[in-house]
């Protein structure tokens, strides 16, 4: 619904190209390999189409696109296929992005550990003070703990979302939500297009 027509067409075109490239490569693949090849090609197609659409009204391409491609590029056995789809130089960029993402992930992890330790140290003292104040102010301890529990739930779910959306570990708050938005739109288009392809190639069997 959100996705404009041009995006769908670009995506589909890219998908067909990459599937064709995958088809050339797969002589003796088992089912699982083929499935992975299809998924890889469709993901790459999605990322490329979304990057292209982000270029037309000049915005920056979404962060998940790069992260997705980088994630696929990080696996060695996909290398040949990706090279063919993305024409060499694009693949180099994906590899660079993969390395950068790896480094970023380590840094984010380090930073989070530091932050958590700091919060534990200072939070114990501060929370007592603030907690008592808030209790006396609001007159009900239950309310505060309910809010805190809600906040904890939201935090936990944001964490899960970060693990789902590619490249989401580095994002916080607002950017995470916008990335999720874009990613959901693209996932929907991907599902639709794959369904089309399935429908299209089915009657060949009989």
């Amino acid at each position: 619904m959100h996705a404009p027509k041009k995006f769908k067409k670009a995506f589909m075109a890219q998908l067909l190209v990459s599937l064709r490239a995958a088809g050339q490569a797969s002589k003796s693949m088992g089912l699982r390999e083929r499935r992975d090849a299809v998924r890889l090609s469709s993901d790459v197609a999605m990322a490329l189409a979304s990057a292209r659409r982000a270029r037309a009204p000049p915005r920056s391409p979404p962060a998940w696109a790069r992260a997705l491609v980088a994630r696929h590029a990080a696996e060695r056995r996909n290398e040949a296929l990706m090279r063919r789809i993305m024409s060499g130089a694009g693949y180099e960029m994906a590899a660079a992005a993969a390395a950068a993402a790896e480094r970023g992930r380590k840094e984010a992890r380090r930073r989070r550990i530091v932050r958590r330790s700091r919060r534990v140290c200072s939070g114990g003292a501060a929370r007592k003070r603030r907690g008592s104040l808030a209790l006396t102010a609001s007159g009900g301890g239950g309310r505060c703990s309910a809010m805190a529990a809600a906040r904890r739930m939201v935090k936990a779910r944001l964490q899960v979302l970060r693990s789902l959306v590619p490249g989401g570990e580095a994002l916080r708050g607002l950017s995470l939500l916008s990335e999720t938005l874009d990613y959901v739109v693209c996932l929907k288009t991907q599902v639709e297009l794959l369904q089309c392809l399935c429908e299209g190639s089915r009657p060949q069997l009989g």
């Binding site: 404009p4 270029r55 939201v154 979302l161 599902v191 369904q195 089915r202």
Partner: protein
Amino acid sequence: MWASTSQAMALADVGGARGGGGGGFLAPVPGFLPHGLGHFPVDSGFIERAARASCFGSGGGFGAADQNMSNAFSCSSEALLDHQRKDGNDKGELELGRNGHERVPSSEAAGGGDCSSKGTSDSKKRRRPNEMKKGDQVQSSNLPADSANESVQSKDKGEESSPATTTGKSKGKGAKETSESQKEDYIHVRARRGQATNSHSLAERLRREKISERMKLLQDLVPGCSKVTGKAVMLDEIINYVQSLQRQVEFLSMKLATVNPRLDLNIEGLLSKDLLRFPGVPSSSLGFSPEMMHPQLQLSQPGLIQGSAAGMTNPDVFRRIIQAQLTAKDGSQMPHALTNGPFSDVAHQMAYPSSLGSQDLSMRPSQDGFQM
């Protein structure tokens, strides 16, 4: 610095006419502006708008200013919504670009949207129209403001809004902030009466509003989310939806892999079945002219094309694109989008179907979720 700006505004106000006197203002006012304001780009449009806004503001007509601006950018906000929902509307996107200097209506939308959203709370009557306008405008106008700008904006807003609030919450100031925010890329936030006016809480409130607007968008996107309210439950739904979509992609790719074991897709067969969705306004003239324009099509059945109904128009165009892409891929190096490489020929051909009928084909009913 702000006091002298207010003097300049007063001068402009006194200077006379509201709308048309922009050129006339330019001569006296820049002479009066002190050096400290050198970084404000002073041009006729700015002076004119400032004059207009300050005239509105002094008379307690902040609502009027709102209406003026809302008229100005309601169309752009609609354009953005259209882009988001339907086909791409590039003009709307351009208007709401991030750069505040050239595309003035854009930051006007951003600044005005936020000013109208935070509006005055002095009179309930004025607030209600603000609230009513708030929904669409804050959504649409805040969307293009990318999060990359966020830290800059919050920082600048922190330092700009505090002097503004200290000098008093006159509506003239508010209007001036709006007009200035048209030039700078800041989002100025008006402090409501009786609420904390620290820079921190203002920034927090702004962030929270942006987050809520994104959540609203996600709510529209994810099916079944309209009833639930509250961040936690909605996030839960979103997570479930994303997971199910990913699983569906996996399943479909497995299905595709089983269906054709060699992954040769028989593109012409696909297109001839016309299973792929296309904009559904065929016109036979358009259908045949592209055929003649591109004789190097590798299709082997011109008879089929001529004999087919006009409904085959768009698949031909699409086919041409695919063929071009495939040949380009095999022959030369295919431009890759991630590096902003030149993408002229395919982009040009992509632009072609957009020139065809823009009527939206009725989509297949979205077979959502769980058909496994």
